[in-house]
């Protein structure tokens, strides 16, 4: 079963613009993570935000978490062609069980 649902399913923006992706989840969590996947193979961890945090930054990434709404957003600022990938949120439905959403496919246009 899916815990997280990303929105939108697909997003195309011009290089240099900001990209925002959202994730909604169903159960209580300890933390929420965002991953990137290139070319349909292995995922790479981007950033983690804990349930007692509201916002976190890492380079051009900004993540927010609203536990009352059970939602998170990932903002990529000043997008680059190399940011073209699929982005997934992941939540710990219970200790050590990590469930991923369906992902957002991001395409950066030159």
């Amino acid at each position: 079963s899916q815990q997280g649902e990303e929105d939108p399913q697909a997003l195309s923006i011009q290089e240099g613009e900001n990209a925002t992706m959202n994730c909604s989840y169903k159960t209580s969590i300890n933390n929420l993570q965002w991953y990137r996947q290139n070319s349909g193979r292995g995922l790479v961890h981007l950033i983690l935000i804990r349930s007692n945090e509201r916002e976190k930054h890492s380079g051009r990434l900004r993540v927010t978490l609203d536990t009352s709404k059970k939602s998170s957003s990932l903002l990529i600022t000043a997008s680059r062609a190399a940011d073209t990938a699929s982005y997934f949120c992941a939540t710990d439905v219970r200790r050590d069980k990590i469930i991923f959403g369906k992902g957002t496919r991001l395409h950066i246009l030159p």
Partner: protein, 114 residues
């Protein structure tokens, strides 16, 4: 090795045959996860191991699927009597002891059932 290693990277098999997929996690990582990803879809949770035990097998799609882990290291995912709907990328990930906060993924096994 430096990362999570999966083998084979690609497997083509005939319907009805059994297949075995292997995952070699990062040394010292006690948690190991298997996911399945169909074309253009999200990751479907299959099973995870803490050491050699699997606390949660609820994601395995049917009794044709089984997984084991020995010595707290290598894991194998076995699919018996493969069906065409089993075609997907099977991804393995591992994480450090006491931490589910960062999963390290292998490159996956692309399984094609003809």
């Amino acid at each position: 090795g430096a990362g999570v290693s999966q083998s084979p990277s690609n497997k083509v098999t005939e319907k009805g045959k059994d297949v075995e997929l292997r995952c070699d996690p990062i040394s010292g990582h006690t948690a190991l996860y298997w996911y399945r990803q169909s074309l253009g879809q999200g990751l479907e949770f299959l099973i995870y191991f803490q050491g050699n035990s699997a606390p949660d097998k609820s994601g395995l799609p049917s009794d044709r699927f089984s997984a084991e882990r020995t010595g707290g290291s290598v894991s194998t995912l076995t699919i018996q009597r493969t069906q065409q709907e089993d075609s997907a990328v099977y991804l393995c990930a591992s994480s450090r002891p006491g931490s589910n906060e960062k999963l390290f993924f292998g490159s996956g096994t692309q399984l094609s059932v003809l």
